[in-house]
Protein backbone atom coordinates (compact mmCIF):
# COMPACT_ATOMS: atom_id res chain seq x y z
CA UNK A 1 0.00 0.00 0.00
CA UNK A 2 1.23 3.49 -0.81
CA UNK A 3 2.13 5.66 2.07
CA UNK A 4 -0.64 8.11 2.85
CA UNK A 5 1.35 11.10 1.70
CA UNK A 6 2.05 9.46 -1.64
CA UNK A 7 -1.66 8.79 -2.03
CA UNK A 8 -2.30 12.47 -1.36
CA UNK A 9 0.27 13.51 -3.95
CA UNK A 10 -1.28 11.09 -6.44
CA UNK A 11 -4.76 12.39 -5.66
CA UNK A 12 -3.59 15.97 -6.25
CA UNK A 13 -2.00 15.05 -9.57
CA UNK A 14 -4.97 13.08 -10.83
CA UNK A 15 -7.67 15.31 -9.36
CA UNK A 16 -9.32 12.22 -7.86
CA UNK A 17 -10.11 13.60 -4.46
CA UNK A 18 -11.81 10.41 -3.34
CA UNK A 19 -8.29 9.01 -2.95
CA UNK A 20 -7.72 11.41 -0.06
CA UNK A 21 -9.86 9.26 2.21
CA UNK A 22 -9.95 5.76 0.88
CA UNK A 23 -6.89 4.86 2.95
CA UNK A 24 -8.42 6.09 6.24
CA UNK A 25 -10.42 3.38 8.05
CA UNK A 26 -12.36 5.87 10.21
CA UNK A 27 -13.50 7.84 7.15
CA UNK A 28 -14.81 4.65 5.55
CA UNK A 29 -16.55 3.63 8.77
CA UNK A 30 -18.22 7.04 9.09
CA UNK A 31 -19.07 7.44 5.41
CA UNK A 32 -16.95 10.60 5.19
CA UNK A 33 -15.57 11.45 1.76
CA UNK A 34 -14.08 14.35 -0.16
CA UNK A 35 -15.93 15.53 -3.26
CA UNK A 36 -15.42 18.38 -5.70
CA UNK A 37 -18.61 20.29 -6.46
CA UNK A 38 -18.49 23.36 -8.69
CA UNK A 39 -14.72 23.58 -8.29
CA UNK A 40 -14.91 23.51 -4.50
CA UNK A 41 -13.50 20.76 -2.31
CA UNK A 42 -16.27 19.62 0.05
CA UNK A 43 -16.41 17.06 2.82
CA UNK A 44 -19.47 14.84 2.75
CA UNK A 45 -20.99 12.75 5.54
CA UNK A 46 -23.27 10.19 3.96
CA UNK A 47 -26.24 9.57 6.22
CA UNK A 48 -26.41 6.17 7.92
CA UNK A 49 -28.51 4.98 10.86
CA UNK A 50 -25.43 4.33 13.00
CA UNK A 51 -24.62 8.08 12.97
CA UNK A 52 -27.73 8.97 14.96
CA UNK A 53 -27.25 10.55 18.37
CA UNK A 54 -30.89 11.29 19.18
CA UNK A 55 -33.31 8.77 17.70
CA UNK A 56 -36.39 10.72 18.81
CA UNK A 57 -35.87 13.67 16.48
CA UNK A 58 -33.91 11.92 14.83
CA UNK A 59 -30.67 13.89 14.85
CA UNK A 60 -27.03 13.18 14.01
CA UNK A 61 -24.62 12.64 16.91
CA UNK A 62 -22.68 15.82 17.67
CA UNK A 63 -19.50 13.77 17.48
CA UNK A 64 -20.29 12.68 13.92
CA UNK A 65 -20.74 16.31 12.88
CA UNK A 66 -17.50 17.17 14.67
CA UNK A 67 -15.73 14.38 12.78
CA UNK A 68 -16.99 15.72 9.43
CA UNK A 69 -15.83 19.25 10.32
CA UNK A 70 -12.37 18.10 11.44
CA UNK A 71 -11.97 15.79 8.42
CA UNK A 72 -13.00 18.54 6.00
CA UNK A 73 -10.46 20.90 7.53
CA UNK A 74 -7.76 18.26 7.07
CA UNK A 75 -8.83 17.62 3.44
CA UNK A 76 -8.56 21.32 2.73
CA UNK A 77 -5.10 21.52 4.30
CA UNK A 78 -3.79 18.52 2.39
CA UNK A 79 -5.25 19.93 -0.78
CA UNK A 80 -4.14 23.50 -0.48
CA UNK A 81 -0.82 23.36 1.34
CA UNK A 82 2.41 21.54 0.71
CA UNK A 83 1.98 19.53 3.88
CA UNK A 84 4.19 16.47 3.76
CA UNK A 85 2.72 14.82 6.83
CA UNK A 86 -0.84 14.36 7.98
CA UNK A 87 -1.74 17.59 9.83
CA UNK A 88 -2.08 17.10 13.59
CA UNK A 89 -5.12 18.67 15.19
CA UNK A 90 -4.21 20.98 18.07
CA UNK A 91 -7.63 22.39 18.88
CA UNK A 92 -11.11 21.94 17.45
CA UNK A 93 -13.97 24.23 18.45
CA UNK A 94 -17.47 23.44 17.22
CA UNK A 95 -20.61 25.57 17.51
CA UNK A 96 -23.76 23.55 16.97
CA UNK A 97 -26.43 25.73 15.36
CA UNK A 98 -29.19 23.34 14.31
CA UNK A 99 -29.83 19.66 14.80
CA UNK A 100 -28.48 17.51 11.99
CA UNK A 101 -31.32 15.68 10.30
CA UNK A 102 -31.20 12.16 8.87
CA UNK A 103 -29.81 13.23 5.48
CA UNK A 104 -26.36 13.76 3.96
CA UNK A 105 -24.27 16.62 5.38
CA UNK A 106 -21.70 18.70 3.50
CA UNK A 107 -18.87 20.87 4.76
CA UNK A 108 -16.46 23.40 3.31
CA UNK A 109 -13.18 24.45 4.88
CA UNK A 110 -11.41 27.75 4.34
CA UNK A 111 -7.78 28.21 5.27
CA UNK A 112 -7.67 31.31 7.43
CA UNK A 113 -4.00 31.30 8.31
CA UNK A 114 -0.95 29.34 7.31
CA UNK A 115 2.25 29.79 9.18
CA UNK A 116 5.35 27.68 9.15
CA UNK A 117 4.15 25.39 11.90
CA UNK A 118 0.46 26.11 12.42
CA UNK A 119 -2.41 26.37 9.98
CA UNK A 120 -5.94 27.45 10.89
CA UNK A 121 -9.14 26.47 9.13
CA UNK A 122 -12.77 27.56 9.45
CA UNK A 123 -15.39 25.04 8.41
CA UNK A 124 -19.15 25.31 7.81
CA UNK A 125 -21.44 22.27 7.68
CA UNK A 126 -24.90 22.28 6.12
CA UNK A 127 -27.51 19.91 4.76
CA UNK A 128 -30.02 21.02 2.10
CA UNK A 129 -29.55 24.75 2.46
CA UNK A 130 -26.04 26.10 2.55
CA UNK A 131 -27.24 29.42 3.94
CA UNK A 132 -28.47 27.59 7.05
CA UNK A 133 -25.39 25.89 8.51
CA UNK A 134 -26.00 23.18 11.13
CA UNK A 135 -22.56 23.68 12.65
CA UNK A 136 -19.42 25.78 12.25
CA UNK A 137 -15.94 25.02 13.49
CA UNK A 138 -12.53 26.56 13.77
CA UNK A 139 -9.50 24.36 14.09
CA UNK A 140 -5.75 24.77 14.45
CA UNK A 141 -3.31 22.20 13.10
CA UNK A 142 0.38 21.48 13.38
CA UNK A 143 1.75 21.04 9.88
CA UNK A 144 5.04 20.17 8.30
CA UNK A 145 5.62 21.55 4.85
CA UNK A 146 8.14 20.48 2.26
CA UNK A 147 9.11 23.90 1.00
CA UNK A 148 9.65 25.55 4.35
CA UNK A 149 12.73 24.25 6.13
CA UNK A 150 12.95 24.25 9.87
CA UNK A 151 14.11 27.61 11.15
CA UNK A 152 17.85 27.86 11.63
CA UNK A 153 18.92 27.75 15.26
CA UNK A 154 19.44 31.22 16.69
CA UNK A 155 22.92 32.51 16.06
CA UNK A 156 25.11 32.62 19.08
CA UNK A 157 26.47 35.96 20.16
CA UNK A 158 29.98 36.56 18.95
Amino acid sequence: MNRLIERIAAAKRSGEVSRLVEAVPYARFMGISAVVVGGELLGRLQFADHLIGNPMLPALHGGAIGALLESTAIFQLMWETEAILLPKTITLTVDYLRSGRAVDTFARGVLTRQGRRVASVRVDAWQDDRSRPIAVASAHFLIETAEMPEPAPPESDT
Binding site: L4, I32, M56, H61, G63, A67, E70, K88, L92
Partner: protein
Protein backbone atom coordinates in the same frame (compact mmCIF):
# COMPACT_ATOMS: atom_id res chain seq x y z
CA UNK B 1 -21.19 -3.33 50.81
CA UNK B 2 -22.33 -6.12 48.55
CA UNK B 3 -25.71 -4.43 48.36
CA UNK B 4 -24.06 -1.10 47.52
CA UNK B 5 -22.03 -2.76 44.81
CA UNK B 6 -24.97 -4.60 43.31
CA UNK B 7 -27.06 -1.40 43.41
CA UNK B 8 -24.27 0.49 41.69
CA UNK B 9 -24.02 -2.23 39.07
CA UNK B 10 -27.77 -2.14 38.52
CA UNK B 11 -27.70 1.63 38.00
CA UNK B 12 -24.74 1.37 35.62
CA UNK B 13 -26.39 -1.39 33.63
CA UNK B 14 -29.56 0.65 33.27
CA UNK B 15 -27.56 3.76 32.28
CA UNK B 16 -25.66 1.82 29.67
CA UNK B 17 -28.87 0.37 28.31
CA UNK B 18 -30.09 3.91 27.64
CA UNK B 19 -26.68 5.25 26.59
CA UNK B 20 -26.10 2.51 24.03
CA UNK B 21 -29.54 1.26 23.05
CA UNK B 22 -31.01 4.72 22.55
CA UNK B 23 -27.94 6.31 20.94
CA UNK B 24 -26.96 4.33 17.83
CA UNK B 25 -23.69 6.17 17.30
CA UNK B 26 -22.53 5.44 20.87
CA UNK B 27 -23.24 1.77 20.14
CA UNK B 28 -21.39 1.96 16.81
CA UNK B 29 -18.26 3.06 18.70
CA UNK B 30 -18.87 0.51 21.51
CA UNK B 31 -18.83 3.33 24.04
CA UNK B 32 -19.43 2.23 27.60
CA UNK B 33 -20.22 4.17 30.75
CA UNK B 34 -17.88 2.61 33.30
CA UNK B 35 -18.64 4.79 36.34
CA UNK B 36 -20.97 7.58 37.41
CA UNK B 37 -21.46 9.76 40.42
CA UNK B 38 -23.28 13.02 40.93
CA UNK B 39 -22.53 15.31 37.94
CA UNK B 40 -19.73 13.01 36.79
CA UNK B 41 -19.38 10.22 34.26
CA UNK B 42 -16.51 8.04 33.06
CA UNK B 43 -16.78 6.60 29.54
CA UNK B 44 -14.53 4.10 27.80
CA UNK B 45 -13.77 4.16 24.08
CA UNK B 46 -12.39 0.72 23.14
CA UNK B 47 -9.60 0.68 20.56
CA UNK B 48 -10.91 -0.53 17.21
CA UNK B 49 -9.15 -0.73 13.82
CA UNK B 50 -12.21 0.80 12.12
CA UNK B 51 -11.56 4.04 14.09
CA UNK B 52 -8.00 4.48 12.83
CA UNK B 53 -7.30 7.95 11.42
CA UNK B 54 -3.69 7.42 10.36
CA UNK B 55 -3.20 4.01 8.74
CA UNK B 56 0.58 4.30 9.04
CA UNK B 57 0.56 4.59 12.80
CA UNK B 58 -2.77 3.01 13.77
CA UNK B 59 -3.62 6.09 15.86
CA UNK B 60 -7.34 6.71 16.46
CA UNK B 61 -8.98 9.50 14.45
CA UNK B 62 -9.69 12.72 16.34
CA UNK B 63 -13.35 12.32 15.38
CA UNK B 64 -13.63 9.19 17.53
CA UNK B 65 -12.15 11.05 20.51
CA UNK B 66 -14.48 14.01 19.86
CA UNK B 67 -17.49 11.70 19.75
CA UNK B 68 -16.49 9.88 22.93
CA UNK B 69 -15.95 13.20 24.72
CA UNK B 70 -19.30 14.58 23.53
CA UNK B 71 -20.99 11.39 24.76
CA UNK B 72 -19.21 11.49 28.12
CA UNK B 73 -20.07 15.18 28.54
CA UNK B 74 -23.74 14.43 27.87
CA UNK B 75 -23.67 11.54 30.37
CA UNK B 76 -22.18 13.85 33.02
CA UNK B 77 -24.94 16.42 32.38
CA UNK B 78 -27.61 13.75 32.90
CA UNK B 79 -26.01 12.91 36.26
CA UNK B 80 -26.31 16.57 37.27
CA UNK B 81 -29.92 17.17 36.21
CA UNK B 82 -32.70 17.05 38.81
CA UNK B 83 -34.92 15.15 36.33
CA UNK B 84 -34.36 13.60 32.91
CA UNK B 85 -34.68 16.02 29.99
CA UNK B 86 -33.52 16.25 26.42
CA UNK B 87 -30.22 18.07 25.96
CA UNK B 88 -28.37 19.34 22.90
CA UNK B 89 -24.69 20.24 22.53
CA UNK B 90 -24.31 23.98 22.03
CA UNK B 91 -20.57 24.08 21.65
CA UNK B 92 -17.62 21.82 22.14
CA UNK B 93 -13.92 22.56 22.29
CA UNK B 94 -11.30 19.81 22.31
CA UNK B 95 -7.57 20.30 22.79
CA UNK B 96 -5.56 17.36 21.47
CA UNK B 97 -2.55 17.04 23.73
CA UNK B 98 -0.96 13.92 22.30
CA UNK B 99 -2.01 11.04 20.05
CA UNK B 100 -3.68 8.05 21.65
CA UNK B 101 -1.37 5.01 21.77
CA UNK B 102 -2.57 2.05 19.70
CA UNK B 103 -4.03 -0.39 20.63
CA UNK B 104 -4.99 1.00 24.02
CA UNK B 105 -8.51 1.96 25.04
CA UNK B 106 -9.26 5.58 25.87
CA UNK B 107 -11.00 6.68 29.07
CA UNK B 108 -12.88 9.97 29.34
CA UNK B 109 -13.74 11.54 32.65
CA UNK B 110 -16.32 14.32 32.52
CA UNK B 111 -17.66 16.69 35.14
CA UNK B 112 -20.74 18.86 34.77
CA UNK B 113 -19.61 21.68 37.02
CA UNK B 114 -22.52 24.08 36.57
CA UNK B 115 -26.20 23.75 35.72
CA UNK B 116 -28.41 26.78 35.17
CA UNK B 117 -32.07 26.91 34.15
CA UNK B 118 -31.21 26.62 30.46
CA UNK B 119 -27.59 25.60 30.15
CA UNK B 120 -25.19 23.00 31.57
CA UNK B 121 -21.40 23.46 31.50
CA UNK B 122 -19.02 20.50 31.35
CA UNK B 123 -15.32 19.82 31.20
CA UNK B 124 -13.43 16.59 30.85
CA UNK B 125 -10.18 14.76 30.17
CA UNK B 126 -9.19 11.84 27.95
CA UNK B 127 -6.36 9.49 28.90
CA UNK B 128 -5.39 5.81 28.83
CA UNK B 129 -4.87 4.85 32.49
CA UNK B 130 -2.97 7.71 34.01
CA UNK B 131 -4.97 10.91 34.37
CA UNK B 132 -1.68 12.84 34.53
CA UNK B 133 -0.77 11.64 31.02
CA UNK B 134 -3.49 13.26 28.94
CA UNK B 135 -4.56 12.62 25.36
CA UNK B 136 -7.15 15.38 25.18
CA UNK B 137 -8.93 17.96 27.26
CA UNK B 138 -12.30 19.46 26.46
CA UNK B 139 -15.13 21.74 27.50
CA UNK B 140 -18.72 21.96 26.31
CA UNK B 141 -22.01 23.63 27.00
CA UNK B 142 -25.41 22.04 26.54
CA UNK B 143 -28.90 23.51 26.10
CA UNK B 144 -31.36 21.89 28.49
CA UNK B 145 -34.95 20.90 27.77
CA UNK B 146 -34.72 20.92 23.99
CA UNK B 147 -37.39 18.24 23.98
CA UNK B 148 -39.76 18.01 21.04
CA UNK B 149 -42.63 18.60 23.47
CA UNK B 150 -41.31 22.08 24.22
CA UNK B 151 -40.00 23.00 20.83
CA UNK B 152 -40.62 21.14 17.62
CA UNK B 153 -37.53 20.10 15.67
CA UNK B 154 -36.66 22.66 13.10
CA UNK B 155 -38.37 22.13 9.77
CA UNK B 156 -36.51 23.28 6.71
Amino acid sequence: MVDDDSERLRVLTELNRRFEASVPHNRALNLDIVAVEHARATVRLPYDVKLIGNPETGVLHGGAITTAMDAAFGAAVFQALPRPMVIATLDLRIDYLKPATPPRDVTIRAHCYKVTRNVAFVRGLAFHDDEADLIASGTASFMLGTSSSRRPPEQE
